[in-house]
């Protein structure tokens, strides 16, 4: 005997199966007393939570109070119905990818990458592109069958597209790290719209990455793929290789 989980109706697990327990922390413009505590409870109640425990409150000054709470949700999630888009090409290492391209395409794939618009966080795109790579995985520049150019930080969308056209790139890589007030969505959308309005969207595989990006969101934004936290060059490399072969077939 053991505890039995029903994938069709999973719930948060705190102390015991299906107790629905979750932790919350937030601040409210409310006093640090029983009234504020009640306000916090009302908020959680509106979120359909029960067994609400406001286990900590502290005065933040300027009329704000911090609350830490535990409460139980009665919502359930059907795991079997989740259908999330993920990059589904197999992941190969550098050698295998190079061999695959050599065999299936026979020549180098041209890639340009950049951190666009106001974003100057290049560590992510460097991790993917530069020789040295990241966490002991080499970057795209080291692959034999990629001809990769990293344009670095704060490249205007127009310029990225111009260079991609000029250099006859097959693939465009874009990085977006700053996400405050969804600036990453705005910038990524802008790039795609520019490409579309110039009628060049389909010339390239367009791939984006960053800590708040994933494949699902990338597709939604009109990209071919998206990679989030913890991605490695080999993930992108394999995807590019498979997709380019596919493209060549069509």
């Amino acid at each position: 005997m053991s505890i039995i989980i029903d994938s069709k109706r999973i719930k948060p697990y705190g102390d015991r199966l299906d107790d629905g327990r979750m932790q919350f922390s937030f601040s409210l413009p409310a006093p640090c007393n029983e009234v504020g505590k009640e306000a916090a409870k009302i908020l959680l109640t509106k979120m359909q939570l029960n067994d609400i425990e406001i286990c900590y409150l502290s005065d933040l000054g300027e009329g704000f109070t911090h609350f830490i709470a535990y409460a139980s949700t009665s919502e359930t999630i059907d795991l079997t119905k989740i259908n999330v888009k993920v990059v589904d090409t197999p992941v190969m290492d550098m050698k295998a990818t190079d061999e695959f391209i050599e065999k299936e395409i026979g020549h180098s794939i041209k890639i340009v990458g950049a951190c666009i618009e106001s974003d100057a966080h290049t560590v992510g795109i460097d991790a993917i592109m530069n020789m040295k790579g990241y966490d002991h995985r080499y970057g795209l520049e080291r692959y034999k069958y990629f001809d990769a150019t990293n344009l670095g930080a704060q490249v205007p969308s127009e310029e990225l597209l111009r260079i991609a056209v000029d250099e006859k790139a097959d693939v465009i890589l874009v990085s977006q790290i700053v996400t405050q007030r969804n600036i990453h969505i705005k910038n990524l959308t802008r790039l795609i719209e520019l490409a579309e309005s110039e009628g060049i969207r389909d010339k390239f595989l367009m791939i984006c990455g960053g800590p708040r990006l994933n494949h699902e969101l990338a597709i939604e934004l009109g990209y071919d793929a998206g990679f989030g936290t913890g991605s490695y060059a080999k993930d992108v490399a394999s995807f590019i290789a498979f997709r380019m072969v596919e493209r060549n077939k069509n």
């Binding site: 005997m1 053991s2 505890i3 697990y13 705190g14 102390d15 015991r16 199966l17 327990r21 932790q23 425990e53 286990c55 900590y56 502290s58 830490i68 535990y70």
Partner: protein, 517 residues
Amino acid sequence: MIKLSIKDENIIKAREYAREIVNSLSWLMSDYSSVSIERTVLRLMRIDGIFDSTPLPNIVIDLLSERNVLDRGAAYWIANAMIYKNASAQEVAESISKDEFDPTKIPTMPDEKVFETLEKLTTEMLKHIKSQNKFREESYAKFGPRKKPAIYVIVATGNIYDDVVQAKAAAREGADIIAVIRSTAQSLLDYVPFGATTEGFGGTFATQENFKIMRKGLDEVGEEIGKYISLTNYASGLCMPEIAAMGAIERLDVMLNDAMYGILFRDINMKRTILDQYFSRMINAYAGIEIQTGEDNYLTTSDAIEKAYTVTASQLINEQFALISGLKHEKMGLGHAFEINPKIENSFLYELSHALLTHTLFPDSPTKYMPPTKFATGNIFRTHLLNGMFNFISQITDQGVQLLGMMTEAIHTPHLVDRAVAIENANYVFKATKDFSNEFQLSKDGFINQRANLVLDETIGFLKKVSEKGLFKAMKNSDFADIKRTETGGKGLDGVFKKSDNYFNPFMEKMKLELGI
């Protein structure tokens, strides 16, 4: 190396007083036994199960007690009945339970036969216990020894099956020792609950079946991840030795077992407690089980600076009690705790000083360090940080076992994720500060040294006072934890009895012999 400057002679002095305190109670151990010790004997004879929800060992001992024959020891009566009925101990106990049979109302079998029967049963059980110990030793040989400090986490869902899931998860994350916390106040039950249990408050009942289920789970995950995962529970309260026996049988590795906790914090009679701990420690010693003492309890009600010496004094007394039961220093997890008010200036220095003192006094023991609890608040971020500082001290003072603090200490018994977050905390801090202590020498006249010496001085003064009065009188005078206990007060005194001349406890005899005590 961070090392205290403490005069050896002071350590010797403190230890000497503690030895006197403990030795002056030898009359109790030699002349008395208790119902729980006798129930333990039955359990070691493989009597188990319940009838009408009462455990068979209780039914049998209650009958022998009623018949006024318990002073001969339970073993004798059962063996006698076994020969008479040509039945197993369990069968005898079952027929007694069903009121079909009275073992005091049958003819006396030849002594020779009785002892032969007992010898066989004893040998069998001790062989089993030794095989469990061997399994443990071999596992360590195979997978490598336990880490130091070992990561110790508790599970306490009340449901043994949830407990297993959470314990396995913890093992995967890096836990070395899993403790199943008992349901509230199991200490006060004068019987051990039976079977797998799924309801408990603040913990899960300690039952033999629960021990077995958890042991199996931990062996499974241990095999998978290539590490021996230790299991611990409480040999504490009115059934202290029974649980020790269950632990020995089911291969628990560590037992929370304090010589005085029951007296002070559970109002269990002092004679009963001292007797019970004596036998339970002997079982632990025999089974290769490490004990852990409960000095942290002093600091939940007293101030950790003012009453630091009570922790040290208790450690020294626990040490002496352990020695007379045959426990080696390597198996004495003497306790202490990180409970200085974090609002105090230099609280970290106090903690460090106290932790070093414990390590200095018991360099060969897997000292058990307890986390901040009293000053944990509902602010999980702050508590998480306190736990990090606590882990820091443990690593740099070379503690044996680190009972991880939970960021939700002030809120609930640990959730699945609380434990994971705590283990990650310890893994990081231990690694980050690994060789820290090699880098420094302690200033000879600094605060840390002065503080440790002061605590030791206070301990010596206290132990001297107690040794002059005797432990029982000292407890009557509220010398421990400001709690007053009398020799005739507290729960369970009615379960203490004087042994007759022909009293016989085959397990205790054999263990003493083999342990050389």
